[in-house]
Subunit: 335 residues, 2 copies
Amino acid sequence: MPTIKDVALRAGVSRSTVSRVMNNQPYVDEEKRKAVKQAMKELGYLPNSSAQRLRGTETRTIAVLVSRIVNPFFSAIVDAMDEVAAEQSYRLILCNTRGSANQELHFLQLLRTKQVDGLILASLVNDWETIAPYTDYGPIVICNEYPRQSDGVPVVTIDQSKAMYEATVHLLKKGYKQIAYCNPITKTESDAVISPLAQDRYLGFCQAMEEAGMHMYGECLFLGHSLEDGRNIFKQMVCLANRPDAILTGSDEVAAGIIAEAKAAGWKIPDDLAIVGFDNQPHATLIEPELTTIHQPVQEMGRAAMERMLALLRKESPPPLATYLEAPLLARKST
Amino acid sequence: MPTIKDVALRAGVSRSTVSRVMNNQPYVDEEKRKAVKQAMKELGYLPNSSAQRLRGTETRTIAVLVSRIVNPFFSAIVDAMDEVAAEQSYRLILCNTRGSANQELHFLQLLRTKQVDGLILASLVNDWETIAPYTDYGPIVICNEYPRQSDGVPVVTIDQSKAMYEATVHLLKKGYKQIAYCNPITKTESDAVISPLAQDRYLGFCQAMEEAGMHMYGECLFLGHSLEDGRNIFKQMVCLANRPDAILTGSDEVAAGIIAEAKAAGWKIPDDLAIVGFDNQPHATLIEPELTTIHQPVQEMGRAAMERMLALLRKESPPPLATYLEAPLLARKST
DNA sequence: CTGTTAGCGCGTTCAG
DNA sequence: CTGAACGCGCTAACAG
């Protein structure tokens, strides 16, 4: 594996000259510049980025942390980020934390050790106090999941309360009486703390219920975020004394799981049970009945987050601190 | 950001002693060991991995290259790899090449510059001659997509020809006459070369057709790999002079797109058109009718690939060169 | 058992 | 315009 030294030797110049050529610096003799480029090509030379990093130069690489890459919402948001990054010849590396606070911290090291220029948190499991120190090591942008306070760090998300409020109102207007609720929990190893995002959604739900003079039964509260979780939720629901006639979920995956089991059990959707998803994932319109869901603007969220990141890296005027994108309810056949 | 020097100073020892403590080496006075650990904790010290890398030590990080992370097949395979890696406290970084040969090469640099200990190719767009030199820089494992020859590099995949052969036979047995075929092409920037994987699948298809004395019409050949591609394929199909009565696709996403459009156009599946998917993605049984598809053992593929990688890193006896896992056809309602 | 020394590959002064 | 020299943070070899 050739180093800068080999290139210098072959081109008959010093290492500094090679370095200057690499970084397109002026004041290099045209002849030598050509000789160096020639030597680089012949040797298949590529600079060692660990060394460059150690020296403190940019990597044009950005890390994105997600908790569960198999979730279509996350892969879509990452895809949007990737698109913007590629346009400006940045690369992305994707870190799947599996909802582990430890993994999250491990990946934050990428920033600390200058292996990436910046880091985007699309999920968040550690306390903000734990994350905050890392802001000294490079720009951080928060997208989707967020902490209660995030001193100075840009946040891109949707108004979770409002979204869930509207979904609840939608069900109430349709006349559903016994509404169940599923919290979108990512099981953490140790503590299963409810994130601000989940809290806010629940708040929206409660507010709508209260305004309608309805109240909730504890047994109608569920947890889950995957297809499998959805299946299990239906099985639990069947056993309840007074069965819900509608359910609000935190993701289209959970909703799809419930629908699948319900249909298998011979239930009619939405007559026997109405279901609301969240995200508007690609499969929301492929299942039957088509899923009523809240459309998360993943494309825009991903793009906006990455654009803020690139702006930070260019040290432009600081981007807006918090951005709340619109997340409209899409009423379809499942309610 | 504290360095090893700061820790040494604070603990009243030399940098080498700190290094020895970090790497759990013997021959360090217990007192000093404690002092060092104390100092590390107080300073919140973490080693700079760029420096470690430059020095040539392991990173316990493995890169995985995929062409399209939004494809559930890829996110599932990555998830399985991640699981195995986590068990042995390795971390994974995910590289989305978007089918770009350039991006692929960029990411291969991670290996060259020792930023990762090993690299798994779950997709492959460059020629093997281009990739081969990188095998000098660290272990590479190939999973799913493969080159024609891969001198010494372990490959984990399925028997593509056999899988598609069986799917074709299934359709023929059911009595379908006019069978269309969709090649799973990842559009490359420049050249849209057909990969060995796609070639082999097509071979299986052709063989089955030949044995049955059937033959293909060029107009019944399509390309695509996404939901959107599937939708477009249906629109093209509608315009054909003699319409196919069945279609074999290269992924469940394409199949789902075709089904969606077909249903929207009032076609009955499988009566007006039979559809076979590929992968057995989570949503294959959620759509209506349930999709006949080839089950790719993503879990096993991902695990096997990662296990081979870890074996290589431990420099154990060389793993088997090529592994072909079973990919059975699951006959369901769409045929 | 421990500190000193010498690079890993690169970018950046600072003298020419 | 160019090369010599230094140091980024870390580890390994070598003397104590």
